[in-house]
């Protein structure tokens, strides 16, 4: 009997490895470095709205939003209102891993303008947030509470043409926040490539 219980306890441990940042709960703290090697803490942005965008240029779903100019436009549009943090949790051994200089060049070529680009190489931040796909979007309000967790929009495809037809959940949420309203669609199923964890 004890053995059975021990087994069941063990299975609970396994399940706990992958955490989550559900809407309504405090956003998990993180301390990582950005592409330039500077440290970035969630605590640095206390009192500000923070957008997290899980990113990987190797992923066709991410490409859709950059080739269409969609993501860069949002980064620019909300530059004054929010702190936009792109997060890359790709592991070093994966073929999608890019060294900082090359990645910096690609970001420049695309005109991407996240406030910071975070390198989460061991993937701990991604696991703490339960980031599943690229892209996977989170919005954290000034009090540090997660207010949106999910997809960028409602068109689950890699087709650039779909961007125009889609309802963008992040835009809707940010606009509601700006108007002082609660976020009406706060949790959606993220879509995209699997985050390339170790």
């Amino acid at each position: 009997m004890k053995k059975l219980l021990a087994l069941s306890i063990a299975s609970v441990f396994c399940a706990a490895a992958f955490a989550n940042a559900p809407v309504g709960k405090p956003a998990p703290a993180f301390a990582v470095t950005d592409l330039t090697g500077k440290p970035v803490n969630l605590a640095d942005y206390k009192g500000k709205t923070v957008v997290l965008e899980w990113h990987n240029f190797g992923c066709p779903f991410v490409q859709k939003h950059y080739r269409s100019g969609n993501m860069q436009a949002l980064q620019k549009k909300y530059a004054n209102d929010v702190v936009w943090l792109a997060v890359n949790s790709t592991n070093k051994g994966h073929s999608d891993w890019e060294e900082a200089p090359k990645l910096t060049g690609q970001l420049k070529d695309f005109g991407a303008q996240p406030a910071r680009y975070l390198v989460d190489e061991p993937g701990r931040m991604g696991l703490a947030y339960g980031a599943k796909t690229t892209p996977h979007m989170y919005i954290i309000d000034p009090s540090g509470t997660v207010v949106y967790n999910g997809a960028i929009d409602d068109k689950r495809s890699t087709d650039v043409a779909d961007v125009k037809l889609a309802k963008n959940y992040v835009v809707a949420a940010l606009d509601e926040l700006k108007a002082g309203k609660p976020v009406s669609t706060a949790t959606t199923a993220p879509y995209g490539c699997t985050v390339k964890y170790r």
Binding site: I9, C14, A15, A16, G58, V119, T187, Y191, C193
Partner: protein, 719 residues
């Protein structure tokens, strides 16, 4: 870096060019997939659906996705371009497999999949060859994902005659059709949201039994965590599948639907997958008439094996005989056998069985009472008896009397003698039965702390199984005596009856005195210092009564019995826990080298977590010996205390010594209903980390070492 989709359409020639018979459709090769349209029959009849399929052959280790792709990915899409008047049905999805990707899980297909659809020519379709086209899009992934697409076409003949089967693809389509989820006539499905879990119950029709290994694939996303293990437990002839709910769980859920797959198949059904829809009910227990479903324990690993549970219970019952509270009673019983070893073998066997009956009946009564109280909504776990100060006082008194008797202070009097005298055979049987009951009653304080967690597990099962486990526990306890009764030869190994027996008996009194001391401490934890004083004063009076009763054993008249009874009654009245059982709560000042425990509340856990603090909760009770040993040995170990301080872990104590519905509810949320339970709540982790119920300092240190670094702002550090 771009991954370009390469469409090798070189071989794309219209089917017409290949001949009049349509079933040879062109193959579309992409980087990782070979796609083609296939038909089941060589022709279609006007107005009747014909089954066709999109056959995708993936490169080794690459996969495409099911309609619910799991954590990531995209289902394959088919857009049909058909001749005028034709209709196409939805994709019929074969059941998928689980495809783990690091910490995530996808649902999809490897090697080959044939996605079936029905195409229906209009009723007035003229015989002849028709070209049907499909624009298919699929995401194919290994460690990277490539969106691919193919423009496929095929010539399908329409003819009035009964179509012949297409030998080339018949087997592929047949295989795919066998993988479609079938209906499950006679089965019942229901589901409940319990804590952070979705529990799905599959109940077979009478006479059938559910398979042991089942995987559930929900139709919708954001219902469960796809990567979390699914736990299977038996529920009568049916089965429960417990799955981790998505966080936050979906709201307004009326039912869950999906596909249940058993590789071993289903009774009386040809297919391995069934489609099911299960209404959400408030609790599964209400439907089955079983016990509290709020505490469905995980039982991963037992695979629903009730037999294993019964075997463990039997073993546990046997071990109970060695407990300090049970052993003396048993010792007396065995010595009775020694005295009569050369007596009537048949009578002795019968005595053994009656003793076993007494044990079994008591266990079942106690278990039944608990199940009944729980069904009535009482928040009880095993060991509940000891949460009542009254029971503790009664047990302390009983143990003291037993101990005094063993010490030789008094002998049971006329009343007991008529029952226990060895003169009449009838008296001997009554004696055996009472001994069985007594052994069970005195066993309860021992079962609670040692077997509590294990027995708690059974409460999550159906009522009959729970009762069976308690029965097995009783049977295990009775087994040694039963063996002795059947094989008196074993007794011959013991020394001959003699003076040693009296000494042995007196020695046996001491474990009982120890039990009294422990019960006094339990009462103190429940009702405070004053209660201990009252108990000891009362026990003193009881002891005086017993002494008088024994001292003037041969005095004539009734006065001896009357005075002794009066004294004992007064003693009980003194010891009786008053109404002012103000519990001693609140944390006493932490002593040097001990953890500074704070009182637990769910709000406190949430508040501390929100402030970025890691919280360690000790679900404990004074009457739980395992809890006390763990605390002394492992938690108040100096290295552990230091590590708690260094990591800023806040220790909270949830004390279940007395009834506390909040703690019972919190335990149920963790799938438990007994203590000890040790849980570490981390900021940002929805589920706490649980420690085993038996701790060692190194185990606790290792678990603390797995925590993220100390201060909240650096909870996640870059390597």
């Amino acid at each position: 870096m771009y991954r370009t989709t390469i469409l090798l359409l070189a071989g794309l020639v219209t089917g017409a060019g290949l001949g009049t018979h349509a079933f040879a459709a062109p193959l579309v090769k992409t980087e990782h997939v070979e796609a083609e349209l296939v038909t089941e029959k060589t022709s279609a009849q006007p107005g009747k659906p014909a089954t066709v399929g999109l056959k995708l052959r993936m490169a080794e280790h690459w996969h495409t996705y099911w309609k619910n792709p799991g954590d990531s990915g995209l289902p394959t899409r088919i857009q049909w371009v058909l001749p005028e008047g034709w209709k196409a049905g939805e994709i019929q999805w074969p059941y998928p497999v689980r495809l783990p990707i690091g910490p995530l899980m996808n649902y999809g297909y490897e090697d080959e999949v044939v996605l079936l659809s029905d195409l229906t020519p209009p009723a007035d379709a003229k015989p002849g060859d028709y070209t049907v086209k499909a624009k298919a899009e699929w995401l194919v992934c290994k460690d990277v994902c490539i969106p691919e697409k193919g423009d496929l076409d095929m010539v399908l003949a329409v003819a009035a005659a009964e179509p012949a089967s297409n030998p080339r693809f018949q087997a592929h389509i047949e295989r795919s059709r066998n993988m479609l989820p079938g209906a499950a006539p006679g089965w019942k499905f229901d589901a409940a949201l319990l804590g952070g879990s979705l529990v799905l119950r599959l109940t077979p029709p009478a006479g059938a039994s559910a398979p042991r290994a089942i995987t559930f694939f929900p139709d919708r996303e954001l219902l469960i965590e796809p990567a979390a293990p699914q736990k299977i437990t038996r529920d009568g002839s049916g089965v429960r599948i417990e799955m981790k709910l998505a966080d936050p769980p979906p709201t307004g859920l009326q039912s869950v639907s999906g596909v249940a797959v058993s590789d071993a198949g289903w009774p009386a059904m040809p297919r391995k997958a069934i489609a099911l829809e299960a209404p959400i009910t408030a609790s599964l227990g209400a439907v089955a008439g079983s016990t509290d479903p709020g505490s469905l324990a995980s039982a991963d690993g037992i695979g629903g094996s009730a037999l294993a549970a019964l075997a463990f219970a039997l073993l546990g019952g046997m071990l109970l005989n060695l407990m300090p509270c049970v052993f003396p009673v048993l010792g007396i019983k065995v010595m009775g056998f020694v005295e009569h070893a050369h007596g009537d073998a048949r009578a002795m066997r019968l005595q053994g069985w009656i003793f076993a009956g007494g044990v079994l009946l008591s266990f079942l009564l106690l278990a039944g009472l608990m199940l009944l109280l729980r069904a009535g909504g009482a928040q009880l776990g095993w060991g509940f008896q000891l949460q009542s100060p009254t029971v503790v006082v009664l047990l302390a008194t009983l143990f003291l009397l037993l101990a005094l008797n063993l010490s030789g202070v008094f002998e049971w009097g006329a009343f007991a003698q008529s029952l226990t005298s060895n003169v009449s055979a009838r008296g001997r049987y009554a004696d055996a039965f009472l001994a069985g009951v007594l052994a069970s009653v005195v066993a309860t304080p021992c079962t609670a702390p040692f077997m509590g967690a294990a027995v708690g597990f059974t409460l999550t099962q159906s009522a009959p199984l729970s009762m069976a486990v308690f029965g097995a526990l009783g049977a295990g306890m009775a087994l040694p005596v039963l063996l002795l009764a059947h094989f008196p030869a074993l007794l011959k190994r013991l020394p001959r009856p003699g003076a040693w027996m009296e000494t042995f008996k007196q020695v046996l009194a001491f474990p009982l005195y120890a039990t009294v001391a422990w019960l006094a401490w339990v009462l103190g934890a429940q009702s405070g210092n004053d209660a201990i004083l009252a108990l000891l004063a009362g026990l003193l009076l009881v002891a005086m009564g017993a002494w008088m009763y024994g001292r003037w054993e041969h005095a004539p008249g009734l006065w001896r019995a009357v005075v002794a009874t009066l004294l004992a009654a007064t003693g009980l009245a003194v010891a009786w826990p008053g109404s002012s059982t103000a519990a001693v709560t609140g944390a006493a000042a932490a002593r040097e080298g001990e953890l500074a425990w704070q009182e637990w509340s769910p709000e406190k856990v949430a508040a501390l977590n929100a402030a970025g603090r890691v919280v360690f909760v000790d679900f404990t009770a004074a009457w739980c010996v395992t809890c006390q040993v763990n605390k002394r040995v492992s938690l108040h170990n100096s290295a552990v205390v230091k590590e708690f301080a260094a990591r800023g872990v806040v220790p909270l104590k949830a004390d279940w010594t007395r009834q506390d519905p909040r703690i019972t509810a919190a335990l149920a949320e963790l799938g438990r209903n007994a203590v000890p339970v040790y849980a570490i709540y981390l900021p940002g982790e929805s589920a706490p980390r649980l420690l085993p119920e038996v701790l060692t300092p190194s185990l606790v240190l290792a678990e603390l070492g797995r925590l993220p670094a100390a201060s909240p702002a650096t909870a996640i550090t870059q390597r």
